[in-house]
Amino acid sequence: MRFPFKTSYEQDTRLFRDRIDASWYVLLAALVVLLPAVLPAYYVGETTWVFIYAITGVSLMVLVGYTGLVSLGHAAFLGIGAYAHAFFIEHGVPWVVSAAMAVTLATACGLVVGLPALRMTGIYLAIATLAFSVIIQEVFSRWESVTHGLSGMAVPKAHIFGVSFGGETAFYYLCLFFLVLALWLTRNLLRAPTGRAWIAIRDSEIAAQSMGVNLAIYKSIAFAYSAGLMGLAGVLFAHKIAFLAPDIFTILLSIQLLLLVIVGGLGSLHGAVFGAIFVALLPPVIAILRDSIPASFHDFSAASGLAPIGWFGDAIGNFLKKPGVEAGIFGVILVLVILLEPLGMYGRWVKIRIFFSTFPMYKRATFKRQRSYMKTERLR
C-alpha cells in the first residue's frame, strides 16, 4: 500500500494526491488527446458521445451522488440547453454567447425547479421533477415558433470565432475541452465548503443543519449547478445529434442518465466518466455483436461440425435484432449492478485496488453497508 508522505495541509487541497497520481492522469490525458490520430472517424464520433454523456454524468453526480437529491426529469434540462442553443444559433447569435445564454437559461430553470424541491425529499422530489419534465417536453412540441414543434429542428455545425468545429476530430476536442472544464470546476467545488455541505446534506440533513448549513441555499445551488452542466451538455448534444425533436428528451432519457451514474458508481466523479463510457459504448457494442455473434458461431460450427451452435448463434443474432432489446439489456444490467455491486463500476475498481494493496489483509466488511429496517431511520 502506498502511503503518501504529507508535509503540509495544502497537500490535501490539491487536485491530485501526489506525483504518482498526477503522472497517471497526464498519461491518460496524452492518450485521449492522441486517440483521434489512430482511431477511424466513426469511433472518434462514438468517443465524442462518451464525453457528452460524461458531462451529463457529472451533472447528475452532483445532484444524486453528492447531494442525495433524485431527479427523474433531468433530460428536460438537457433539452432546454439544446433547444435554447439551437434557437440562438438560428437567430445569428455567436456560438460562445449562444452557449453561455443556453447554460444560463438551464441554470435559471434549475433554480426555479429547485425552489419547490427544497421542501420535498425522496419519492416526492422524483415525481415532481418527472412532472416538470413531462410539462417541458410538451412545451418543446407545442412552442412551434421556437422549437419547430414535432417537425423538429436542424442544428448547424459549430462555428466558434470563425473556426469550424464541424469535423469529427475538431468536435471531439471541443467536447473534451468542456468535459475537462466541467470536471475541474466540479472538483473545485467538491474540495471546498460547498461540496462538503452537499455531502453533509446527503448523509444527514439534520446534522448538516445543526452545523450551520442552510439546506435551502445548498440544495438550490446543487440543483442550479447540476441543471447548468446539463445545459452545457445539451449545447454539445444539439450539435452532435444535429436534429432536435421533442421525443428525444423523454423520461427514458432521464432514466438512462440516472443509469449512467448508478452503473458508474454514485458519489465519485470517476464514476460519472466510467458510467458515460458504458452508456455511450453499449449500443455500438450491441450493434457489432448483432452481426458478429451469428458469423463467429457459424464459423465455429463449421469448424467443429456441430450444427446446433450455428443455430444458437442465429437465435442470439435474431434476438438482438428485435426492437426494444437494447432497453431490455440496459434494464438487465441495471438490475445486476444494483443487486451485485451497488457501488457501481468505480466501487468495483476501488475494491480491486484495495484488495491488491492490502493483500492478504483485505476485509470484505470494509464495504458492507448498514441497512435500515425501520421507517423512521430512512427519513432524513
Binding site: 412532472a131 434476438f319 444494483i338 427519513l379
Partner: protein
Amino acid sequence: MTDRARPSYWHGEKAASDRPTGSRGRKLDIFLQLTLNGLAVGCIYGLVALGFVLIYKATELVNFAQGDLLMLGAFVCYMAVVWWGLDYWLSFLIAVLAVAAFGALLDAVLLRRVIGQPQFAVVMLTIGLGAVFRTFASVTWGSEIYTLPTPFGGVTRIAGVTISHQYLSIIVGTLILCSVLYGFFNHTRIGVAMQATSQNQLAAYYMGIPVKRIFSMIWAISAGVATAAGVLLAPVTLIDINMGLAVALKAFAAAVLGGFGSIPGALVGGIVIGLIELYAGATLPDGFKDTAPYIVLLVMLVVRPQGLFGTPGRKKV
C-alpha cells in the same frame, strides 16, 4: 413517452371533440359523460396507485414496474382469450393468478435482497425490471396493438346520458376490488400482520410474523390488482407493450397527490387525476390533456409537500 405518441383511446376525448353545439341539455350530457369517463380512467389510475402504495407501505420499496405488471397482465389475458380461446372470465382469473404468482416470485428472487437499501437504488432496480418486462413482452407478443374482446360491448342510456359498459365495468370492478381489499386488511389476521410489518420490519419479525412470506403476499396482491386494472383497461386503451408505462406515470402522480403511503389517498388521487385529464382535454387547448394532471400535481406539492392525505415525516434525533 407521453400519451401523444399513442393513438387517442379515451372515448371521452372523442366525445369532447364534437364540441357542445347548442342546447344546455347537450352540454350537461357531455359534462356527465366526461365525468363518468374521467371516473373510470381515474379508477384505473387509482388501482395502479393502490398497487404502489400497498408495496410501499409494507416493504418501503417503490415499485416503478407496477405499470409493466399491468401490461403483462393484459397480455396474458389476451393470450388466454384469443390464442387459447378461453372464456373471458376464466382468462381474467388466469391472468390475475399468473401475474400474482409472478409478483411473489419477483419478490422472493430479487426484491427481497434490496430491502433496507436506499430508496433510490430500489426505484432504479424496478425501473430496470420494467424495461426488461417490456422487452420480454415485445419479444414474446410482438410490438403491435391488440384488441381484447370483452363481454362489455354495449351502452345504456339513462336520462339522455350514454353510459358505455366498458367504463361502467371499470368503475364497478374497482369498487369490488377495493371493498375486498379493505376487508382483508382490516379484518383478517394476515391483513393486520401486514400492517404491523409495514411499521417496523424487524420488530414484526421478532414478534413471529413471517415477514418474508408477508412481503411475497403483498407483491402478489399488488401484481394481481395491477392485472385486474390492466384487463379492465384493455378494451379502452387496447393492448401494447407501452400501455403500462403511460398509465403508471399518471398513477404515480396520483399516488403522490394522495400522499404516498395512504390507500384512500391513492384512490382519491387517481380519480382526481382522471377527472382533471378528461376535463382538461375537453375544455383546454391541445396539449393540456397530458400536462394538466402534472401541473396540478406540481402546484399541490408546492403547497403541501406531503400530499393530500400524507403526514409529514421527520427523522427523530
